[in-house]
Symmetry: C2
Subunit: 244 residues, 2 copies
Amino acid sequence: MRYLITFSYDGTNFEGYQIQPELRTVQGCLEKALTFINQKKETKVVASGRTDKGVHAIHQKAHFDLQVEITIEKLKRALNSNLPDDIYVKNVEKVDEEFHARYMVKEKEYRYYLNLGEYNPLERNYVFQCCHSLDIEKIKEGITYFLGTHDFRAFVTENVEKENCVRTISDVKVEIDDNNHLVLIFKGSGFLKYQVRNMVGLLIRIGERKRDVVDVRKMLEAKKRIESTPRAPACGQYLIDVIY
Amino acid sequence: MRYLITFSYDGTNFEGYQIQPELRTVQGCLEKALTFINQKKETKVVASGRTDKGVHAIHQKAHFDLQVEITIEKLKRALNSNLPDDIYVKNVEKVDEEFHARYMVKEKEYRYYLNLGEYNPLERNYVFQCCHSLDIEKIKEGITYFLGTHDFRAFVTENVEKENCVRTISDVKVEIDDNNHLVLIFKGSGFLKYQVRNMVGLLIRIGERKRDVVDVRKMLEAKKRIESTPRAPACGQYLIDVIY
């Protein structure tokens, strides 16, 4: 039987989502818990995608197959009692054997949180402590240049010659939330490694008036990293939702 | 010259405020940074009071004396660059040599945050994950019994025969904040060790309808711990402000 889970995690104390030998990862913790539940049969988990070290998730999704007979209520309880306190399974549902958590993603939403005010030690792992004012109107203008289908080669790490870097961003938004944080919202069919943090890094430079809004278009058209813009820190990034 | 600082800290990774040999404490970090700034002359810090392991502070206050000549702007910068990232000095001011950060406290405000909804791994160290509904009307009624001057012996740890446990609570409030947390607010001239967490523990029991609202008055009148109520976890407690 195939199951789809929706789960949330605090990325602070993980070496990223993806399993790595000897390291504490979200996938590693999930597979350990599921293998135990699945009568010690090694159980693999397929998530909608990876998140980097330090990145958080509110509604990450993943599928896996179990041999044991178990109700979804019991499975949720069993997972949460076998997972560490920085991962929490919010929902469990049965899905078709054909369902695939990565290949069938229609849309993902990422948010990036910035504190433009004074440094706050209590949110240092959860909001990027930018701690200086930014020209929000410039950021609002710059972010719209990301909309649509582009080759995002300039916004990933270098040396990715072979990979297809064409992705579509279907919606962007800039908000100030109740806690007075600047929130940059990106929705799209898929995102490349470091893409969100590199886009945010350029938008911060634009907000600082060190780069121009048209540099977004220039970098997209160049299809390579013409100039290094600092990658925004992982702690401000959240995978908010995955739509199938 | 005597200085008064206002500072904030994330209590999660400290063994409490008060200095203890070999342990990571807020006072230990402050004194280390100040001793360095004060040309290696051992410098003692006097705070408004201690906070327990895991308790956070938004506007904690403390005084100390420096021999070196330094502007308040430079002192703020020097402190923040010599402190770890979970303590932040928000304000520095010069005060009279007679000023005393502990003896001259007029009022303190504490808040206690509870999540009554589903477990949230991202706030596990910052909001008590109570995770079940409570009768908020009962809590609102129960909390008012704490108002006024009482012997709070029943709300501290046992075996405090000798200490004077009479304290005055001048204001209490129950709110739901923007993040849908239940917030219990206490203002008073001073609070005893574990007093806030023991008061909150009883209020949670009242919200669960396992204790009656009049049990607050009964416990205050008994002047001893008649029955153990669980002490609420430290992570939900914040020292919000100190007034002189």
